[in-house]
Amino acid sequence: MTYALGYGTNGFANHRIEDAIAVIADLGYTGIALTLDHDHLDPFAADIAARTWKLGAELDRRGLKVVVETGARYLLDPNRKHHPTLVSEDQERRIDFLVRAARIATDLGADCVSFWSGIGPAQTWPRLRDGVAELLDRTDNVLFGLEPEPGMLVETLDDALRLREELGRPDRLRITLDVGHCVAVEPLDAAECVRRAGDLLVNVQLDDMLPGVHEHLEFGDGALDLPATLAALDEIGYTGLAAVELPRHSHAAPDVARRAFIALTAARTPHPWLDDAERAVRETPAAIRTLFPAVSRNLRDATRDDEARVRLIAALADSVTNSATGSATDLGTEVRALYDYGDSAERRAVLRGLDRVGWRIQEVGAAIVKDALRTNDTTLVAAALGGFADTHLDQHSWRHGVLKCLFTGVPLAEVAGLDRRTDDELIRMVRAFADERDAAGREVPADAVDLLRSQV
């Protein structure tokens, strides 16, 4: 028996809960992480018992696993996000909400109620501890998963384990792990965190992230080693739910959920050649020089070429930086050579690999991205403007990259961080481009029109 793949309903905030469940189940997921919210099973609704019963019946009918998540933003206070929390002076409202959540979890047959601590200074720790104790006192049978959350009082797995120690290791207090958070703030990688949590793991959230940046990303856009992380879940015998956590992607939820499912399925499908190749690169970094070009004919699954090559790059980064003599310079030289000697498929994979390891070789990475942006190859241009470029490419080059997308027909949806990085100068450039097209009587690309409109 293995774990179930699910999707968090907070990533479907613009869907009715019944519709969200239908879309998620139809994609092949076998569970949901249900975030109680004003529009998704509001725990304060008068007819909550009836609604819960109805939803539970629907989940049963579809054979879906469920966990209850309690991270809704404005459920308790319409003005202050997440407020109050277990570290707040008025923590009572939070405890009351969590007790309601526990009741709903029981009625739904959920695995657990997941919760986090809240943002507060160190001296609020005793209040948090007492609040959790009270929560356990006021409920029975329901398991709770305490989730370390970047920026909160319980930020890391160690913090969560310490709190549990101080409470005398209550059996019902267990761990929720967001594997993206591990990338962002944990000293260990996600697979190692999974192993460390071990039997205490009661709930898993899946997403990608970059080191030091608490932003939930789609798989492949961050630095998470997804295959290794999923393998670690199997290794510890985890049989609960592992649900995708992309709360800021509701606007394109069905597409995002579909892509995530493909990535998860691919990451779970073992491939002996790739496993051997990864091992070879870990042992002898230079092995990547001949394995990287050979991926396609050995894998015989063109949909996995990029992912496989990114795994090899990640293995390279591990082995180079873990070895006694290896350095970031060696990693940069090796990655640059993979790009320079690569055909277009290999170059595209190097660009995608930068999202994973580029933060270690920022100068080399930026040079590679700039080279790709000079080509006429639209697949390279698109791959160049991923997560790495979002974080590390200078604003001037980035703007010109976006403009090149408009010129060459690369959808702006491919550009990571478009909303955040768009500035007045880019708008001026896009407007000038649109005016030029207008003057020539040529069509202005819809993406350009949209971008200009978004700034009005």
């Binding site: 020089r289 001949t290 004919r297 000697y341 277009s344 006429n376």
Partner: protein, 284 residues
């Protein structure tokens, strides 16, 4: 007649040639890496050339309905230039690529110690990468060069069935036939071999392990010599099946040993390669 030209340098040919070759029945070819007439002076010139062989040229051929494969090597002539020899260190990256079906052209030009070294090293690479080898025999002192070549192959541990010794003629074919290696013949307008002499050799030695190529390049040469040899064979009483053996089945069997022939996949005929096109507007 379906034709697989096992040795032709399309980089030096025009799109007219591709059109004529397709019309003649050429559906697949192998382009060996060789020298360019003008000597190279550095490793970068080689890698740019290799990139063209695995990328742009494959794309061009695809546009004309022809599957393009290549071989990769440091050729014997340039193996004598110390500025070029370090390309040996880069070869593994290219030998690992899809559509690279042999190590070649390797062999001798003037039989120098430098050529010895490059030849032996590249035979090792063929063993390491599980690839056949395409061996060029020298223009001068051909018979001695061929004998020496066969010795090198025997020492390398690469089975002779995985080696084609190319540019053979009446004086060199016997030794290669007896060695168990494949025999390559380049049919040229005036030099090397012509169609009639080729037919005579096929009569004497049979069609087994025989490869006929045009070796067309930047010099005076004819990319349709494969077709013309096939026609000469028919005229001389060979069957259609004999012609198919020499012009299709043999090269497929030989290069098939690489496991990297791309004959089953649809011909890739995207309009552009890395955003660049050979088309100059729409044909009228």
């Amino acid at each position: 007649m379906r034709i697989f030209d096992p040795h032709i340098h399309m980089t030096s040919r025009t799109t007219d040639d591709y059109e004529a070759m397709y019309a003649a029945g050429v559906r697949a070819l192998v382009e060996p890496a060789f020298w360019l007439g003008q000597p190279r002076t550095n490793v970068g010139s080689f890698t740019d050339y290799f990139d063209g062989l695995i990328g742009w040229e494959r794309h061009r051929a695809g546009l004309f309905g022809i599957r393009h494969h290549c071989t990769i090597a440091l050729n014997p002539k340039e193996a004598n230039d110390p500025r070029c020899v370090p390309v040996l260190d880069v070869l593994p990256r290219y030998l690992a690529k899809d559509g690279v079906v042999a190590v070649g052209e390797i062999g001798f030009d003037s039989m120098t110690p430098e050529e010895d070294y490059a030849f032996a090293r590249q035979l090792e690479l063929a063993v390491e990468f599980g690839l056949p080898a395409m061996v060029h025999t020298p223009h001068r002192d051909k018979a001695a060069g061929t004998a020496r070549t066969l010795d090198m192959v025997r020492e390398s541990g690469l089975g002779t069935e995985r080696v084609v010794v190319d540019h053979l003629n009446e004086t060199t074919v016997r030794a290669v036939a007896d060695s168990g290696a494949w025999m390559g013949f380049s049919i040229y307008p005036d030099t090397k071999m012509d169609e009639q002499r080729m037919v005579a050799i096929l009569r004497e030695y049979g069609t087994e392990r025989m490869l006929v190529n045009s070796a067309a390049d930047w010099g005076r040469s004819d990319p349709l010599k494969t077709l013309k040899t096939g026609l000469a064979m028919l005229e001389a009483g060979f069957t259609e099946s004999d012609v198919d053996t020499v012009l299709w089945r043999n090269p497929v069997e030989f290069f098939g040993q690489s496991g990297r022939l791309m004959l089953d996949e649809p011909v890739e005929a995207a309009e552009t390669f890395e955003g660049n096109s050979v088309l100059r507007g729409t044909p009228r």
